[in-house]
Amino acid sequence: MNDKPKFVYVVYIASTPEKVWQALTDADMTEQYWFGFRVSAGGKVGSPFTAKSPGGKDFDKGVVLESDPPRRLSYSWHPQYDDVRHERPSRVTFDLAPFKDQVRLTIVHDDFDHGSKVFASISRGWPAVLSSLKSFLETGRALEPSWSDEDRKRVADAEARA
């Protein structure tokens, strides 16, 4: 099979494209639903994407590849934790479209090599993050984090770095 790993997820949120855009790009927002992570992705094409762990350490880094607020955002994704740092960066793309007083948010995370450990990790992670995002925007309350033991170890390792 030649198909490379590709994660696709669609969620409908009772909100506006502008609010969803802000929630995806503004670290003060992500901290509230992305399980304490501060994610910055609001800059122009070529500017940095960063996801910092609750302790302020670099967890994922990349570069903004496309930015068309509030419709389309794409960035490269390069985890900084030790066991997968050697993998080359993958790519995250969000599409936001109005749909009957809601936003249809589509995320595609692709450009992985076969056997990527990052792919396994993000396939577990995005449903939790995007479920929490939806709850946060619709109810004002995010969900509890859903770390696997592996995730927990990675966060702990990142926090322990100098």
């Binding site: 809601q102 939806k134 709850s135 969900l143």
Partner: protein, 146 residues
């Protein structure tokens, strides 16, 4: 050749019992799914996905394969006009697990689909919409327009 499957995971601030009820009680499904899911939900029983316009027309029909409330439900899934053709009968599995203190992880797996079929395309578009509406219904008591 293995037939394609569609998997969708969503986390909902709710209880397993409430999620089970929201999938199996026609008086709940009609609020967020525009259909009444009608069955007694025992293994071997039929289920029908009936319109709410008074016609009681079934848009989807099937049988209950496994039923372990409030954790695990397996049903078959077909258009009524295709239900007699085993090639066109697909299968849906709902797994409902407690998650943290106040949430549930709901995993919907739809498999035994024919590659490239209209049903495969339809459910791939449909489940995110229905499951987003389910989550909103349980968390906010507001239904999203489908």
């Amino acid at each position: 050749m293995s037939k394609p499957s569609f998997v969708y995971v969503t986390y909902i601030r709710s209880t397993p019992a409430s999620v089970w009820r929201a999938l199996t009680d026609p008086e709940v499904t009609r609020h967020y799914w525009n259909h009444r899911n009608v069955s007694d939900w025992t293994v071997g029983a039929a289920w029908d996905h009936q319109r709410c316009d008074g016609s009681q027309i079934s848009d989807i029909t099937g049988t209950i394969v496994e039923s372990v409330p409030p954790k695990h439900l397996v049903i078959t899934w077909a258009l009524p006009s295709e239900a007699a053709d085993p090639q066109k009968v697909s299968r849906v599995t709902f797994d409902i697990e407690p998650h943290k203190e106040d949430s549930v992880r709901l995993t919907v797996t739809h498999d035994h689909l024919q590659p490239g079929s209209a049903m495969e395309r339809g459910i791939t578009q449909g489940w995110p919409l229905v499951l987003s509406a389910l989550k909103s219904w349980l968390e906010t008591s507001r239904a999203l327009p489908l």
